[in-house]
């Protein structure tokens, strides 16, 4: 077992250094978490040395990812180090701040220490503690009051061949009536199968009347064992939209959690999953209605092939006093193989009377009669299944407001389907 050194960043304010030390103690104290349907102990995650490479490496990142001409801002992290951080002139002039978290920690220690770790509890489990103890860098985005950032802010987390442990953090603060879309992608070389532990944390503070959309596309390399935690807090009349997609990694324990903290807050959550070979996805989508007149709409669709395994746990919690809330969730899985397994576990926890809540979950194999119908028009079986898979995922993909995110998800679906054809499983 390899125990990483406690990291302190140069010029790190005492308050942050103290938290890091406390997180390190928690990391040592916490056991490998027990998840009901994900046998983590058997994966021997402790055998992976939890070390971020010491130096930043831009060369390792494919050139096409280093810039994003259609973004208002673009950040690239290579193995946890910020190697690119660009912000458009227009955004800069309107007061938007986009910077490396390490830099922000000493430039704006008050803001960082107020919000960093305010939503994702360090003691959630051993891997959130690892993130809090060992993070080297990340992203801080602050959108000032009343500012609408027209183009998305894109963040690329590149996990390269040199990485053994990667622990990035993202902190998004949208002030009153601000509006911004953030797209985080977790990427690596699909032919790189060395084991790497990734524990990433994203926190979103959606101020009163703000509209924040966060998209997260997980296409990590096949050796990655990932823990991706996202948590947001929507204040009065704020809107927080999530679009998440799980395609890569060997293991991904991921999820997003939204607190609808004050009246009128809204959230939507759309998740697309495509598992193949022996991939294992364990996803938690949670929304807590705290304020009255809050609404949530959670939808997830997944396709599972090979011997892949998915668990999707949806939770809609309505606290006492959150009257006149509307909470809906729906999870559907399409099974391409008899050896794949999917569990969708929707749950509602309701502690107020004057509410609307609904949940549904289903899983089933490809409709052979539909395949026959398409075949009767000359479409070969593999093409028919390809059409049906796209048709199945489409209604959730198309709910995502950002066309760029839709396109990226379709590209990821294309790649997955291509892979399945290569394996001859379609």
């Amino acid at each position: 077992m390899s125990t990483p050194e406690l990291l302190t960043l140069p010029d790190e304010p005492t308050v942050l250094a103290d938290r890091r030390r406390a997180a390190r103690d928690l990391y040592d104290a916490l056991p490998v978490p027990t998840r009901q349907r994900t046998p983590l102990k058997a994966r021997r995650l402790e055998a992976i040395p939890y070390r971020e490479p010491a130096a930043a490496d831009l060369d390792e990142v494919p050139a096409a990812l280093r810039s994003a001409p259609d973004s208002a801002g673009h950040v690239v992290l290579s193995n946890g180090h910020v190697v690119v951080c660009q912000l458009s002139e227009a955004a800069r002039q309107s007061g938007v701040r986009l910077l490396s978290l390490a830099q922000a920690a000493h430039q704006d220690a008050a803001l960082v220490s107020e919000h960093l770790g305010s939503l994702v509890a360090v003691d959630t489990d051993r891997y959130t503690a690892a993130n809090a103890a060992f993070w080297r860098d990340g992203v801080l985005l602050v959108v000032p009051q009343g500012i609408a950032v027209a183009e998305p802010i894109t963040i690329v987390h590149w996990v390269g061949a040199a990485a053994a442990g990667v622990f990035p953090r993202t902190l998004i603060v949208a002030r009153d009536d601000a509006s911004v879309a953030v797209v985080e992608t977790y990427l690596g070389d699909p032919t790189d199968s060395h084991r790497v532990l990734v524990s990433a944390t994203t926190e979103v503070i959606a101020g009163p009347g703000s509209h924040v959309s966060v998209s997260a596309l997980q296409q990590l390399p096949p050796g990655a064992e990932a823990f991706l935690r996202r948590r947001g807090r929507a204040q009065h009349d704020a809107r927080l939209d999530w679009a998440t997609a799980e395609f890569g990694a060997a293991l991904s324990v991921a999820g997003h959690h939204t607190d609808l903290a004050e009246s009128g807050a809204r959230t939507t959550s759309y998740t697309v999953t495509f598992g193949s070979a022996a991939q294992h996805f364990d996803y938690d989508a949670e929304v807590v209605h705290i304020g009255p007149h809050t609404t949530s709409d959670m939808r997830a669709r997944g396709v599972m092939s090979g011997r892949s395994r998915s668990i999707f746990t949806g939770l809609s919690e309505i606290r006492k006093g959150a009257r006149r809330t509307d909470a809906r969730q729906k999870e559907e899985t399409l099974m391409l193989s008899p050896d794949a397994r999917a569990d969708a576990i929707p749950s509602l926890l309701i502690d107020d009377n004057d509410v609307f809540a609904a949940h549904a979950a289903s899983a089933g194999p490809i409709d052979e009669l539909a395949v026959y119908y398409l075949a009767s028009r000359g479409i070969p079986r593999a093409d028919a299944i390809d059409l049906l898979v796209r048709g199945f995922l489409g209604p959730v993909v198309e709910r995502i407001a950002l066309p760029a995110v839709q396109n990226r998800i379709w590209q990821a679906i294309d790649a997955k389907l291509q892979e399945e054809r290569g394996r001859g499983t379609l």
Binding site: Y373, L374, R381, D383, L387, G391, F392, L393, G394, P395
Partner: protein
């Protein structure tokens, strides 16, 4: 090339082990319209689905060939690409797949991968076919059959036939559940596709659709066999005398007791 020929010879088919077709013989050539009529449960739809290769129907004897090619050795999609078409009685609803995308995929399945159908060309042809069938162009972007009424589904089947241009088309109860105007529109669509290069097999319970699509031959199927063949007048006889007539006069040996 010579017109198509579908030859069904002494066909025996079982469903879940129960024999349904018991030696059916029928032959259709390009330019001909054949009607297969008969009471419910005599094997008409079994015939249609067996020709197309539905996995539920097991052929236990006999043969089906298209231009001498053994259809039974081919998978459903290969049969379709060889020129066969089945307008289904109950078309599937396919969620998430638009009618236009589906049809384009079906057309491309017949072409070289390097030479897909051009979008403009496809759209024009689709619009034209939709006009023949009085289908609103907006249907092209709706999910295939999802939420379509019975009549819309039937029209969509004929739309597919017009675009895919089969050489042998089997229409299974294409008139069932349709009001008289819808029957006329569907029949117009079928009529628009008639040519020496297309052989049509119309399976129907009622004579009604045959007022619009005049058959050259009428075959009465009973208990898994063709018990009588004739010209269009046979359909009229059937209409006026009903299926009881078959039971009583044509197959007394099969049906022991009168109704």
């Amino acid at each position: 090339m010579a017109g198509p020929e579908l030859a069904i010879d002494n066909l025996h088919v079982a469903v879940d082990g129960t024999p349904v077709l018991k030696g059916l013989t029928l032959s259709i050539r390009g330019g001909e319209v054949h009607a297969v009529m008969g009471p419910n449960g005599t094997g008409k739809s079994t015939l249609a689905q067996t020709i197309m290769g539905h996995p539920r129907y097991q052929v236990t004897g006999g043969s089906i060939t298209l231009d001498g090619q053994d259809l039974l050795a081919m998978k459903t999609d290969a049969r379709a690409r060889a020129g066969l078409f089945l307008a289904m009685q109950y078309p599937n609803e396919v969620s998430g797949v638009t009618t236009a995308n589906f049809l384009r995929t079906a057309l491309n399945a017949r072409r070289d991968a390097k030479d897909p159908v051009r979008l403009k060309e496809f759209r024009d042809e689709l619009d034209h076919a939709m006009d023949i069938l009085s289908i609103d162009h907006g249907f092209a972007n709706r999910y295939l059959n999802e939420g379509f009424s019975g009549g819309e589904k039937k029209r969509n089947e004929i739309l597919q036939m017009l675009l895919l241009k089969p050489r042998i088309a089997v229409l299974d109860e294409i008139d069932s559940g349709l009001d008289i105007d819808a029957v006329r529109i569907v029949a117009q669509g079928v009529d628009a596709s008639r040519s020496p290069e297309l052989g049509l097999l119309i399976i129907t319970h009622y004579q009604r659709i045959l007022n619009y699509i005049k058959p050259d031959y009428v075959h009465i199927v009973y208990d898994g066999r063709v018990v009588k063949s004739g010209g269009p007048e046979l359909a009229e006889t059937l209409e006026s005398r009903g299926y009881e007539w078959i039971r009583e006069e044509l197959v007394p040996a099969v049906e022991g007791s009168p109704a």
